[in-house]
């Protein structure tokens, strides 16, 4: 698997888009820091950007890479390699290079600003970790979409829909149901509902760490009340890990049965 990972990674490192993505974070980091002049505020603003943008880039890049490397995949399938090796290698190649763009792109301005001397270092670290989680989750989901759809237009459509659903529609539905069923106890429902959306979960995770109750919203406050801060953080990280593991397992499963 490491060999495939290596080649996918090299391939992506040569692609223009990785640098555009990297450059974007670099500029964003510098602009936010030097306009805000406050690391904690910059972390909050970044959270709002990362939580929406990372899933979008992860899904789009994921399907794009899957469809673009179809020829390469065909070539590899005739070689003495296990199928799961091929697809997992490609997946980790994409997810790793995207995470690296994020971590290095944001890391440079923050290090330059002096993050190591500030107390916000853990907040910032958690932000990057969440960003990496979201990249791995949404790339895995998009690989699943690619593997299940031969038609790339359809695949792209589903990928965009997935992002739109998770980033926008899900919250809308949740909010509506909270309003409609306001007369009932909704604690368990909204807690469970937030587990099923990695974007919500990431937001809660970061806000728990930052401990800003004003921004936490209903589910965030519930999370804190139910689990306390440290258990809440631990729990949300574990669920995020599950969100990576299950789609990766699904990639293996679909790849094993597919005809090429």
């Amino acid at each position: 698997m490491l060999k495939i990972l290596k080649y996918s990674f090299y391939d992506l490192m040569r692609s223009r888009w990785s640098y555009v993505y990297f450059g974007f974070y670099l500029i964003l980091g510098f602009v936010l820091l030097f306009l805000n002049n406050n690391v904690s505020k910059a972390v909050i603003t970044l959270m709002n950007v990362i939580i929406i943008l990372v899933p979008l880039i992860g899904t789009i890049f994921g399907v794009m890479y899957y469809y673009n490397s179809k020829e390469f995949t065909g070539l590899l399938l005739a070689q003495p390699l296990k199928r799961s090796t091929i697809f997992l290698g490609q997946y980790f190649g994409v997810a790793l290079s995207l995470s690296m763009s994020l971590v290095i792109g944001l890391g440079i301005p923050f290090v330059a600003y002096g993050i190591f001397m500030s107390d916000a270092i853990w907040d910032f670290g958690l932000l990057l970790l969440t960003g990496a989680f979201l990249t791995f989750i949404f790339t895995a989901l998009s690989f699943n979409i690619g593997l299940r759809n031969e038609n790339r237009i359809k695949g792209f459509g589903y990928a965009i829909l997935l992002w739109l659903f998770m980033a926008v529609i899900y919250d809308g539905i949740l909010l509506m149901s909270l309003m409609i069923f306001a007369d009932y106890p909704l604690d368990t429902f909204s807690l469970t509902a937030s587990m099923f959306n990695p974007i919500d979960l990431s937001r809660i995770l970061i806000l728990l760490k930052l401990d800003i109750s004003a921004l936490m919203g209903y589910t965030g406050a519930l999370f804190q009340k139910f689990f306390g801060t440290s258990l809440g953080i631990f729990l949300s990280i574990s669920v995020l890990a599950l969100w990576v593991l299950i789609p990766v397992w699904l990639i293996r499963r679909v790849a094993r049965k597919k005809d090429f």
């Binding site: 060999k3 080649y7 391939d11 040569r14 692609s15 490397s69 179809k70 020829e71 390469f72 065909g74 070539l75 590899l76 399938l77 005739a78 070689q79 003495p80 390699l81 296990k82 199928r83 049965k257 597919k258 005809d259 090429f260």
Partner: protein, 236 residues
């Protein structure tokens, strides 16, 4: 060498292979023929494990290959449409495939010379013409020493000189005792290189034997007409 038992494959409702039984002996050149959509490529891809059959068994040297991957070390495969990653150069691709297959005894230089590929080594695969891509494809297939070679439409896009080179290459590999499986629509090419033909029709093997036997069976004086007569009979 290859033993296929009662192979079935459906794509949705479309039944492509419906009970193929075939055994191929070591050291022979065998052509798989059939009209478009008769399941030639599906049969080959099943042997390679790229298509997962619904039913049946494929044995290579007595061992089942379904769900396995290691056995592909002993197969060299030339795909029908040479699709390569666009932003790799020819040289990088060759190095990569060598690296992935971990085979030591590789003579790519002789083949590069044979097909005059030197000027293209540093070029990106996306910028090559169809014929040149096919030459690279042939190079990647023939540079390894595997006992089984599978060629899916090897002649497509080749100029006459390269075609002659390809035939020589096939003969020399046969001399080494390799088994070669070919599909092609160019009847003259098949007649020239193959010792035995297998004719697929509607997902089953309609005929297996030598070209002379086929001519006898159909009562036609030449190979091309013999094939055509099978097809007209089946369409009628």
């Amino acid at each position: 060498m290859i033993e296929i038992k009662d192979l079935h494959k459906k794509f949705g409702k479309n039944e492509v292979l419906s009970g193929v039984n075939l055994s191929v002996d070591r050291g022979k050149i065998i052509a798989v023929l059939g009209p478009n959509g008769s399941g030639k490529t599906t049969l080959i891809k099943s042997i390679l494990g790229m298509v997962v059959p619904n039913k049946g068994e494929i044995l290579l040297d007595g061992k089942s290959v379904l769900g396995k991957w290691k056995y592909r070390e002993s197969i060299d495969y030339l795909p029908q449409i040479a699709n390569f990653p666009h932003n790799l150069t020819v040289k990088e691709l060759i190095r990569m495939i060598k690296d992935l297959r971990k085979q030591k005894n590789v003579d790519d230089n002789a083949l590069i010379k044979l097909f005059k590929l030197e000027p293209f080594l540093g070029k990106k695969l996306g910028n090559l013409s169809g014929g040149t891509k096919q030459k690279v494809n042939i190079l990647l297939t023939f540079m390894f020493e595997s006992p089984l070679i599978i060629l899916d439409e090897p002649t497509s896009g080749l100029d006459p000189i390269s075609l002659i080179r390809l035939k020589e290459l096939i003969y020399s590999e046969k001399e080494k005792g390799k088994t070669i499986l070919i599909t092609s629509h160019i009847m003259s090419f098949v007649e020239e290189v193959s010792e035995e033909i297998v004719f697929l029709l509607e997902g089953k093997i309609y005929f297996k034997g030598s070209i002379a036997e086929l001519k006898d069976k159909t009562g036609q004086p030449d190979f091309e007409h013999a094939i055509a007569s099978i097809l007209t009979q089946s369409y009628a």
